[in-house]
C-alpha cells in the first residue's frame, strides 16, 4: 500500500515537476541575464500551447515537426515578449520593467480569450511514448513524455550555455554586464536571446502539460508563479539545479494532494515560498550561473 502510494506520488509528481522545472529554468534565464522577474512566463506557455493546438487542428503533425514548430514559435514568442517589455524599457527603472511584464501577461491572456475562448482546450499528445513500469515505479505516457522533453531541454540548454560562444556570452552578461560589454558583448542581444530561450522552454512545457491538464486562458499566472517558486528552491544558479527545484516542487505537491487534500496544495506551496525567501536571504545576490 505504502509503495503504491509512493509510486503514484512519483508518477504524478514527475509529470508536473518536469513542467515546473522547465518554467523555472526560463524564469532563471531571464532573471540572471536582466535581473527581471518575468510575470508573463506562464503566458509564453499558454500562447505557445494554444497555437500548437490550432496547428494540430489544421494539419497532421508528426512528432518531430511538432517539436520543431513548438520550438520555433516559442522562440519567436520570446522575442516578441522581449520587444514589448524589456526591449522598450531597457533604461527604465526595474519596477517599470516588472510592470510591463505584468501588463504583457494580462494582455496575452486577453488575446487567448479572444482567439481561443474561455473553454479549456485539449492539446493532443504529440510525442506519444509508451507508459513504462520500472519495478515498482510506474510512469504513465504523459509523465514519460514530460520527463523526456524536460531532460532533453535541460541537456541541450546546458550544452548551449557552456560550450557555444553565444551561450557563454549570455552567462558573461549575467555575471557582470559591464565587464561583458567591455569584452565586446552586446547585453541587449543576450537579454533578447534569454527571453527567446525561455519561450522555447515554455513551448516545450506546453507540450508536456497540455495533454495532462488541458490549456485554459487563466492557467498562465499559476504556472508562472510555480516556476518562480521552483527557481527559488533551485537557487537560480545552475540549470540542472533549477530543474531539480521544479521536480522537487512537483513531488512535494503530488505528496500533498495525495496525503492531505487538493485544496491545501496552493497554500502549502506558497508557504514554502515564504519560508524559503525568509530563510535564504542574500543567496540570490551571490548566485552565478555555472
Amino acid at each position: 500500500m505504502v509503495i503504491q502510494y509512493l509510486a503514484q506520488i512519483v508518477n504524478s509528481g514527475l509529470a508536473l515537476g518536469a513542467v515546473y522545472g522547465l518554467m523555472a529554468i526560463g524564469f532563471a534565464l531571464i532573471f540572471n541575464s536582466s535581473r527581471l522577474i518575468n510575470f508573463a512566463q506562464g503566458e509564453l506557455l499558454l500562447i505557445g500551447g494554444l497555437t500548437l493546438h490550432s496547428l494540430t487542428q489544421a494539419l497532421h503533425l508528426p512528432p518531430l515537426a511538432a517539436l520543431a514548430a513548438a520550438a520555433i514559435f516559442g522562440y519567436l514568442l520570446g522575442h516578441a515578449l522581449y520587444a514589448s517589455t524589456l526591449g522598450v524599457s531597457i533604461n527604465a527603472s526595474p519596477l517599470r520593467q516588472l510592470m510591463l511584464t505584468v501588463a504583457a501577461s494580462l494582455c496575452w491572456q486577453g488575446v487567448a480569450i479572444v482567439v481561443w475562448g474561455k473553454n479549456p482546450v485539449m492539446l493532443p499528445q504529440l510525442l506519444p511514448l509508451p507508459p513504462v513500469r520500472l519495478g515498482l515505479v510506474f510512469l504513465s505516457q504523459d509523465t514519460l513524455t514530460a520527463l523526456v522533453l524536460a531532460l532533453a531541454s535541460v541537456f541541450f540548454l546546458s550544452a548551449f550555455l557552456s560550450s557555444t560562444r553565444t551561450g557563454r556570452a549570455i552567462r558573461a552578461v549575467s555575471m557582470n554586464p559591464v565587464a561583458a560589454r567591455l569584452q565586446g558583448i552586446r547585453p541587449g542581444q543576450c537579454h533578447a536571446l534569454s527571453f527567446a530561450l525561455a519561450g522555447v522552454l515554455a513551448a516545450m512545457a506546453a507540450m508536456a502539460v497540455g495533454p495532462q491538464t488541458m490549456l485554459r486562458y487563466d492557467m498562465g499566472l499559476g504556472l508562472g508563479l510555480k516556476g518562480f517558486v521552483a527557481a527559488t528552491i533551485g537557487g537560480y544558479a545552475s540549470v540542472p539545479r533549477v530543474f531539480l527545484g521544479g521536480v522537487a516542487l512537483g513531488l512535494a505537491e503530488a505528496a500533498l494532494v495525495l496525503l492531505l487534500s487538493g485544496e491545501l496544495k496552493e497554500t502549502v506551496t506558497y508557504i514554502l515560498l515564504i519560508g524559503l525567501l525568509v530563510l535564504a536571504p542574500g543567496k540570490q545576490e551571490t548566485a552565478h550561473p555555472a
Partner: protein, 390 residues
C-alpha cells in the same frame, strides 16, 4: 390582479400596438426565458436559448397557442443565482409574464424557485439537479416543474445497467458543487435497493485540472466500476486520469450531464469504453420505430440542423430541454383552455403522455418531472463515437 392589468395596459400603450404574428392573432402570451448565456453554464444556456426561439417560432407558425402567438422575453442569467433571481423579479413584476422557462443551472433554479413559488408563477426549469422539485428541506414545488430527467432517474438507469452486467462493487467520485452533491446523495440512497456496494468515495473541485490523486485512491479499493458525477470538462479529465492508472482499471461511468461531442474531444482515447446514461437525442438511429419519441427526436434534430444551431453548438444530451419546456407549456395551456397562471399550473400537473425530445412526460402532483428510466439510453463510447451500450 387589478394593478397588474393596469401595468399591462400602460406597457402596451407605451409600446404602441404589439407586434402580431402572421398566423396567430390576438395579444401575445408573454413567457419569460431565463438562460445562462454567459458564465460556466453558457455551453448549455446559449444553445437552450436558440432552441427556445426556434421552438417558439415553430409554435407560432402553426397558429400559436389558444389562437394567440407566444412571445418569449429572454434574459441572460450569467450563470449567477443572484442575477437569475433579479431577472425573474423583472419578468414577473415589470414584464408581466404568464410563466417562466429556465433557468439553466441548479443553483440558479433554487434561487429563482423561492421567488416564483411565492409569486405563484408557473416555472418550467431546464436545470439538471433535483432539489428544485424535491420538496422537504428545499421547500414546496407547487409551481415549479423541470424537463431534464431527475438525478435519481439517471442513477437508476446506471444501476439497472450495472446490475444486468453483474457489476455490484462501486466507487463514486462526485463534484463539490450542488450538482455533484445531489448525485452523491442519490447514488448512496439508491445503492441498497439495487444491491450495489459503494467501496470508496472521493469529491473533487469541478474547476480543477487534475484528479489523478482521487482516481488513484479510488482504484486502490479495487471497485468493478467507478461513477463520476459532474458536468463540464472535469468529467473528461477524470476519465483521462483513470485511463492513465497502471494495472486493472475500473469501468468508468459518467453521469447524464456528460454525453456530447465535447466529452469525446477532451477525453480523446481515454473516452473509449466509458458508459453513461443519456437522452435519446444522442442515439437517434438506434431508436426502434415503435418508440413514441423516435419521430419527435428525428424532427427536432432536423430542425436543429436546419436552423444552423448544430454548426455552432453540436447536439448534446442537454439540447432538447428548452424544447420540452415549451412543449409542456403548450400542452398545459391547451389543456387549461385559458392563459391564467393557476389554470396553467393545474393543467401542467395533470399532463399525461406528452411526447418530448427528452422523454414521454406524465406529470403528477408528486412528480413534477414526469420522466422514467425508459426515457434514457445507456451509451458506450466505441471508436471515438457514442453507441448504445449492450
Amino acid at each position: 390582479m387589478f394593478p397588474r392589468i393596469l401595468i399591462v395596459l400602460a406597457v402596451l400603450f407605451l409600446c404602441g400596438t404589439p407586434a402580431l404574428a402572421a398566423e396567430a392573432t390576438g395579444d401575445p402570451i408573454l413567457v419569460g426565458g431565463l438562460f445562462a448565456q454567459s458564465g460556466p453554464a453558457a455551453f448549455v444556456g446559449t444553445p437552450s436559448r436558440l432552441v427556445a426561439e426556434m421552438t417558439v417560432n415553430k409554435i407560432n407558425a402553426a397558429g400559436g397557442i389558444l389562437g394567440r402567438p407566444l412571445k418569449l422575453i429572454i434574459h441572460d442569467t450569467e450563470s449567477n443565482p443572484d442575477v437569475a433571481l433579479r431577472l425573474a423579479r423583472q419578468l414577473v413584476e415589470a414584464e408581466n409574464v404568464l410563466a417562466i422557462i429556465g433557468p439553466t443551472s441548479t443553483g440558479e433554479g433554487l434561487a429563482v424557485k423561492k421567488y416564483t413559488e411565492e409569486k405563484k408563477v408557473p416555472t418550467i426549469m431546464t436545470v439538471g439537479g433535483d432539489p428544485v422539485i424535491a420538496g422537504g428541506n428545499f421547500g414546496p414545488f407547487t409551481w415549479t416543474f423541470k424537463t431534464p430527467q431527475r438525478t435519481s432517474t439517471a442513477v437508476e438507469k446506471i444501476y439497472d445497467h450495472l446490475k444486468a452486467k453483474g457489476v455490484t462493487s462501486l466507487a463514486v467520485m462526485t463534484a463539490k458543487d450542488a450538482f455533484g452533491q445531489d448525485g452523491l446523495n442519490h447514488l448512496k440512497n439508491l445503492a441498497g435497493k439495487y444491491g450495489m456496494e459503494i467501496m470508496a468515495e472521493e469529491t473533487f473541485d469541478p474547476k480543477g485540472t487534475d484528479f489523478s490523486a482521487q482516481a488513484f485512491k479510488l482504484a486502490t479499493a479495487s471497485p468493478k466500476a467507478v461513477i463520476i458525477w459532474t458536468i463540464g470538462p472535469a468529467g473528461a479529465i477524470a476519465a483521462k486520469n483513470f485511463a492513465a492508472l497502471p494495472g486493472n482499471k475500473p469501468l468508468v461511468v459518467e453521469c447524464h450531464g456528460q454525453p456530447g461531442p465535447e466529452f469525446l474531444q477532451l477525453a480523446g482515447p481515454a473516452a473509449e469504453g466509458v458508459i453513461m446514461p443519456a437522452t435519446k437525442l444522442m442515439a437517434p438511429d438506434s431508436l426502434p420505430a415503435a418508440d413514441p419519441q423516435a419521430a419527435v427526436v428525428k424532427a427536432f434534430i432536423a430542425d436543429y440542423d436546419k436552423e444552423g444551431i448544430q454548426a455552432k453548438f453540436p447536439l448534446n444530451t442537454h439540447s432538447g430541454y428548452a424544447y420540452d419546456a415549451l412543449i409542456l407549456l403548450q400542452a398545459g395551456l391547451q389543456k387549461a383552455g385559458k392563459a391564467d397562471p393557476a389554470a396553467l399550473r393545474d393543467a401542467l400537473e395533470s399532463l399525461t403522455g406528452v411526447v418530448g425530445v427528452s422523454g414521454v412526460f406524465t406529470i403528477t402532483p408528486e412528480d413534477h418531472n414526469g420522466l422514467t428510466t425508459d426515457s434514457m439510453v445507456m451509451l458506450e463510447v466505441k471508436d471515438g463515437a457514442y453507441a448504445v451500450a449492450k
